[in-house]
């Protein structure tokens, strides 16, 4: 991976590593939502939800626009990009397995006791 890819993966990982943010993404991918509508869905403050939205925006996963007093958020992930993030998640599962195989093999050569 290039440095840019790595940075993008970092931002994606961070953004998607949170259950609430993944849930917000599912909603805004389905259609545009106002931040206040989103906030009403969760048992947390408007400011907390707004913060989650900001993290997703920074990762390039959603865009916001103003309409009067409302802030509207929309998923900005083309189908391909969203598949990309799925494959990134899957890759993490694989990396975990590979690291565990490596640990297992390494333990072969360690002296007993």
């Amino acid at each position: 991976m290039t440095e840019t890819d790595e940075n993008r993966a970092d931002a994606l990982f961070h953004a998607l590593a949170d259950r609430t943010r993944r849930d917000i993404m599912r909603r805004v991918l389905a259609g545009e939502h106002s931040v206040s509508t989103l906030a009403a869905k969760y048992d947390m403050s408007f400011a907390a939800v707004q913060k989650h939205v900001a993290v997703l925006e920074k990762a390039g996963l959603l865009t916001k626009r103003r309409s009067g007093r409302e802030q509207l958020a929309r998923g900005d992930v083309e189908a391909v990009r969203s598949v990309a993030s799925l494959l990134v998640d899957l890759e993490q599962i694989w990396r975990g397995r590979i690291a565990r195989i490596d640990d297992l093999i390494e333990s072969d050569t360690e002296p007993e006791g």
Partner: protein, 162 residues
């Protein structure tokens, strides 16, 4: 790092990962041929796997259960398609009911594992292909992704601690 290459094929919904292990091909084969070793590597620490049936032959089945942090159980199976001991094998990986009846409503991935000798060690190639993006999404939405996510969180904490 043992992982040497990662390829994401968005069009074919394929993930290909290459890793290099400091052990002979036969040793890597053993990880999959030995139930206890397979259990150690298959599930993430938060979702340990128990292998219930293990028949690593063409047409054979490997059945496993992963247990989540809240005692939630996820059964899965491998339907083994080809075996070339010790150079690799291929199988379909799917979800099942707790009696290991395959659940046709959940996605199945095609997997091909290849182990080749390289400088006294092993180059392992893992290729997973999904039929649809929805299928891949479903797999990740099931508990298993939480293991990956907790790993990601650990990385985040590590980075934040610097």
């Amino acid at each position: 790092m043992p992982v040497t290459d990662v390829r994401h094929d968005l069009d074919n919904l394929t993930l290909a990962i290459t890793a290099e292990f400091a052990a002979p091909v036969e040793r890597i084969w053993q990880v999959y041929a030995d139930t206890r070793q397979l259990e150690k590597v298959w599930g993430p620490p938060s979702y340990p796997a128990t292998v219930v049936d293990h028949d690593l032959r063409p047409g054979g089945r490997v059945n496993y259960v992963m247990t989540g942090p809240e005692g939630d159980k996820h059964a899965g199976y491998w339907q083994v398609t080809t075996v070339d001991e010790p150079r690799g094998f291929s199988f379909d990986d799917g979800f099942a009911d707790l009696d290991f009846t395959p659940n046709p409503d959940l996605p199945v991935s095609e997997n091909e594992y290849t182990f080749t000798e390289r400088d006294g060690g092993t180059r392992a190639t893992y290729v997973s292909t999904f039929a649809s993006a929805e299928g891949l999404q479903q797999v990740l939405d099931m508990g298993i992704v939480e293991g990956a996510t907790s790993a990601v969180n650990q990385i985040d904490e590590l980075v934040a601690a610097r």
